[in-house]
Symmetry: C2
Subunit: 478 residues, 2 copies
């Protein structure tokens, strides 16, 4: 550790007594996220109140100590990894949730758990739609840092669409409020939204005002089997053309379904093994739902080869279990999963799937794909065995080719995970030099000393050159 950083740490311990940890266990736990690359911080600071963040940033800015904020550490991209050491800023204790049921606005701490906000909102007849798959663990601060999505975006949009106001601290430790718990706000430059998705590189959010919706009266889930991905994705396009408005529209390719069926030893739709599947949720008032369900079943009658519907929550849960099983069962193919979260225009999804099958042949690795077909946001996986250098090299080449094709199709390299470390190599595919220069100049303006999450998003980093650690994280199911 640099001498100046040692003085800074001593000063930090005096100013935030009982909140600064340098023991190996604490440092290891804060050294990684779901990307599982580990870079140890010099210290972990577990804040007790928002103002601790201001105190810490003043010192960090003065002594140029890197600061990397973290919530649950469930980021898929390494955005919560303290790549350059320094201080890991653990915001998980800022977990308050207050709901104003008249204004339909929640005020949440950065450490509040997403599923907890959803539960408290539901108890008041309200609804917070964004639902990343790790919602039982993720924090709202993390959701905001990467502008998290999930399954309901097709009807309800992403995290950004629910953020009204942010409070926190700028790189120099000065407090900010950008936006307020109000539904309209246009005073000054929109730094609130600039912070959303900035992965802790521009400022630290300690509290957010979140817009809630009235909770839909009822939900209905249906699962539909198709002979091919092409047939399933053709149905997706026709569905929007005919004016349907699903709250969830998930797609599973045959590789994914095959994994689940091999894993469980059961065919999901008897007589139709290895089908491609659409999982659809509808929501609304009871009468609206009846109308929507009828229209959807009529629509599917000519298109799907088999179908199943859930009228109760328990029955729906069983259908969703199929989706989760696909995700877990892929590890029967190989021990390592690259999980990309690319987006292409709705009508290009079939072409993307054809490309994943071509890629499968080219690189000799499985490419099971599922995802949010209502947004064009497909999770393309490449499965490989880490111990095989040949497979690793093929997987790496495959990801590059995939990203190139996604951008060619008018898509984006990341729809809900963000850049972090993992997607850095693909930034030049997505953005021109002047676009990246514009982003970097904004970063430099708000963080002139470069202390906030240094090394992320723009610097060069090659995830393949680093060995991931073997660790069990709370959301691991295998």
């Amino acid at each position: 550790m640099k001498k100046s950083h040692q003085s800074a740490l001593a000063s930090l311990k005096r100013k935030l007594p009982g909140r600064v940890f340098t023991d190996p266990e604490s440092c290891f736990a804060a050294s990684l996220d779901n990307l599982r690359l580990s870079f140890a911080p010099d210290a972990v600071v577990k804040v007790r109140q928002a103002s601790d963040v201001g105190v810490l940033l003043q010192l960090a800015n003065q002594y140029k100590v890197p600061v990397t904020a973290r919530g649950a550490g469930s980021s898929a991209t390494g955005s919560a990894v303290p790549l350059r050491g320094g201080w890991a800023l653990d915001l998980s204790a800022l977990d308050s949730i207050r709901i104003d049921a008249v204004a339909r606005i929640a005020t949440v701490g950065a450490g509040a758990i997403t599923a907890e906000l959803q539960a408290q909102a539901e108890a008041l007849g309200l609804f917070f739609p964004p639902d990343p798959s790790s919602k039982k663990y993720t924090t709202l601060g993390g959701n905001i840092a990467c502008n998290a999505g999930g399954m309901r975006c097709v009807k309800y949009g992403v995290t950004r669409d629910y953020v009204l106001g942010l409070e926190g601290y700028l790189a120099d430790g000065s407090p900010f409020k950008f936006g307020l718990p109000l539904k309209k706000y246009v005073s000054g430059l929109n730094l609130r939204d600039l912070l959303i998705g900035s992965e802790g590189t521009l400022g630290i959010v300690t509290q957010a005002a979140i817009k809630l919706l009235p909770k839909p009266e009822k939900r209905w889930t249906g699962m539909f089997a198709f002979k091919s991905e092409a047939a399933a994705l053709k149905a997706v396009v026709a569905l929007f053309k005919q004016g349907h408005n699903p709250s969830i529209l998930e797609f599973l390719d045959r590789q994914s379904v095959g994994c689940a069926e091999a894993y469980t030893g059961k065919t999901i739709f008897p007589g139709h093994s290895r089908a491609s599947i659409l999982l659809i949720e509808l929501d609304g008032t009871a009468s609206e739902l009846r109308q929507q369900r009828r229209a959807l079943l009529d629509f599917m009658a000519e298109r799907a080869v088999a179908q199943r519907e859930a009228r109760t929550e328990a029955a729906a849960e069983k259908l969703w279990q199929v989706r989760r099983t696909c995700s877990q069962s892929m590890f029967s193919l190989a021990d390592t999963k690259l999980n990309e979260d690319v987006v292409v225009p709705l009508e290009k999804q079939a072409e993307l799937i054809r490309y994943t099958l071509q890629l499968k042949k080219e690189i000799g690795l499985a490419t099971p794909t599922f995802g949010h077909a209502g947004d064009g946001n497909l999770h393309v996986h490449i499965m490989y065995n880490r111990s095989s250098q040949v497979e690793a090299a093929r997987a790496k080449a495959g990801i590059y080719k995939l990203m190139e094709r996604v951008v060619e199709l008018g898509g984006v390299i990341t729809g809900e995970h963000g850049i972090g470390l993992a997607k850095i190599p693909f930034m030049p595919l997505q953005h021109t030099k002047s676009e990246i220069a514009a982003m970097r100049t904004v970063k430099a303006a708000l963080d002139p000393k470069g202390i906030l999450n240094p090394g992320k998003m723009f610097d060069s980093f090659e995830v393949w050159e680093h060995e991931p650690v073997d660790v069990r994280l709370p959301w691991d199911h295998r």
Copy 2:
């Protein structure tokens, strides 16, 4: 004109032949917006294609020529006024609208008219909710530049909530695409949203990808009279508490209603002259609407002193005419209207109305107020006669007091108009020095030579020291 600006202009005329106008009529027309303060540009550039903007900005940046973008010029704040001369950049010819009905995404030029997008979307069974009152004239570029709102924000949000991607040019003329016509996109820093509401100070948007919704099947409008503003606003709070979800919820105070009744010679609700009024729109499927309407009428039965409903569009139009008449008829009180667009928390609206009545007494000027009570976004007007120095001084003092009270109540000085020139004096009430410094450093980063709409948002400007011009603009009804 500076010599360097003369060379720049000569060069511009060569590079964009037939698009550069320096005649007095063109320069006068581009010298003002709805604030009606006139500052003549050196030239007006009527672009024919997006790339013209890049050509112009390269030159402007090289020669440090101020550039102020404009669409319809309907800004209420002076944001489209070329305060420091230079070039007025007229984007109104970029008026293309293309709608992808499957993806439910419109691609629009910056000059496309808001109402035209709405009409084309409706023809395809789709819906673009933001509806600023000047929507027949305003451009999408202008809506994005000030993050425009309107009446349907209570249920559907503001312009920002519908912007998926922006294309345009940075201050140095390099092209950008921030976001794409995709519903999920989290690659790099979110400069797309930073540009929304930036009033042409950070970059010039030439094209936008706009999210559309399925068009609600039906609409219903009801108008309700209350004995007092307090009773009407108490009903607003109770309405949300009980879970109603109106698509419009407009409030009219007794001063506004009094103006309309004096102007038309008719009592809106016979037997209840000078009532306070709520105008409510519901939307949804036919069955949903029946259910909502019943619940709302039951709710209002104990609260309103009179009511009227519209089951047809023509009947609804008659009810909305009441709202428009209020706006126009205020000029019977005095020749000049200050129209503020403040926002306070929902439950503070009654307190704000009490304050407008206190202010009325204090300054001896009428303070008729109406607005979007579902968002807490109330248009407080102060009416005065411009020729009276006494009244002008009182009006000015009144606005300052109003803004102070709004911020005290946890509100914001502008909910949908933006800062421009008119709200500059109130920025320090809303934002701390470090917040403003953060905004300015971002501005300097993206526009280092300060050519984009200079003098707006941050510089000091006193609107009262400038005489407005007497001009009839397309949206003037009197």
